[in-house]
Symmetry: C2
Subunit: 190 residues, 2 copies
């Protein structure tokens, strides 16, 4: 039973990883501590040696999910056009547990504790700054405002495409919003 400090750190990481995935998929209240521990290969009793409360895990899991996503979904794209196409893809839509937590948890964050909302806010600021830096050269006007428009359209379109029961409408939302955004922010000044 007893485990080393290194093993404890690995256990901690596994708990956070499971939570970061399942919270996006099922919501911040959608899975129990016991089930998270089971998926991480442990039992519920050990949880409170890692976190003071369930909410502490929520905060840490949101941070972990956002860090992972900033690297994969946003930063890795060379141009704004590529970023739009990646974010509003069917692959991203179908990968809730590995996708953008800002979109997957927007309603949950609004209903959550101050701690959760604060991490969420910090990470959103980071993503907005990233997006602002990706705007094509020669784009006129308020770049931060335009980044906010794009990210709002991202969050809304991805969320709607997941919520609707009609697969055709779901695709239309992704493709239409993607096409409109690309035409609004062309790669070069025309």
């Amino acid at each position: 039973m007893g485990s080393s400090q290194a093993e404890k750190a690995e256990s901690h990481q596994r708990i956070v990883d499971v939570a970061a995935r399942r919270f996006r998929e099922l919501g911040l209240e959608g899975i129990s501590v016991a089930d998270i521990m089971k998926e991480a290969g442990m039992t519920v009793g050990g949880f409170y040696k890692h976190f003071a409360s369930r909410d502490d895990l929520v905060v840490e899991a949101i941070a972990a999910a956002c860090e992972e996503m900033e690297a994969s979904v946003l930063t890795a794209q060379p141009t704004l056009k590529k970023s739009i196409q990646t974010y509003l893809s069917e692959e991203h839509r179908d990968n809730v547990s590995g996708g953008c937590p800002i979109s997957a948890l927007v309603n949950d964050a609004a209903r959550s504790t101050d701690g959760a909302r604060e991490v969420y806010t910090e990470r959103l600021e980071g993503s907005l700054a990233l997006l602002e830096s990706q705007m094509p050269e020669g784009t006129e006007g308020n770049l931060r405002a335009k980044a906010m428009l794009i990210y709002s359209a991202y969050v809304g379109a991805l969320g709607l495409s997941r919520a609707v029961s009609d697969p055709k409408l779901s695709r239309q939302i992704l493709n239409s919003v993607s096409a409109e955004l690309i035409s609004l922010f062309p790669a070069r000044k025309s």
Copy 2:
């Protein structure tokens, strides 16, 4: 104790109204049947004479919330500009329980049952058609695609403005997205 059929219909309406408000505020799983009944002035035992299951109430409450919202938030606005300003206002942000359920429940709908997702989808189609019909005369291109962009920006910006813990950022999101949308869809052909 015994009540007339007319009183039963009133009770039913009160249950749906409470649910329609509280679900938007707390999420589809955020309030118990017992608490909904208490707010509607009854006790939990009577609930199942009105609904076969909790999920049946969810479906009916989503429909009721969407009907109410289509009338107040969308249809009542004479121009697209007015519609944008109303939707992306601080008043709407601060009125979750009386505001747009498409935005307030987008994550919840994606995680919910088929029945709930189907009502949600129907009502979203209705709202998109409404928005399409509000596009200013002379707007070029695919009107449905543009309506999808606007509604995605609505849902995303309103959700984000509610999720963030920083009041200044919250206002910036609403005001920036509002201004960008208005400048993208001017009232007349220029």
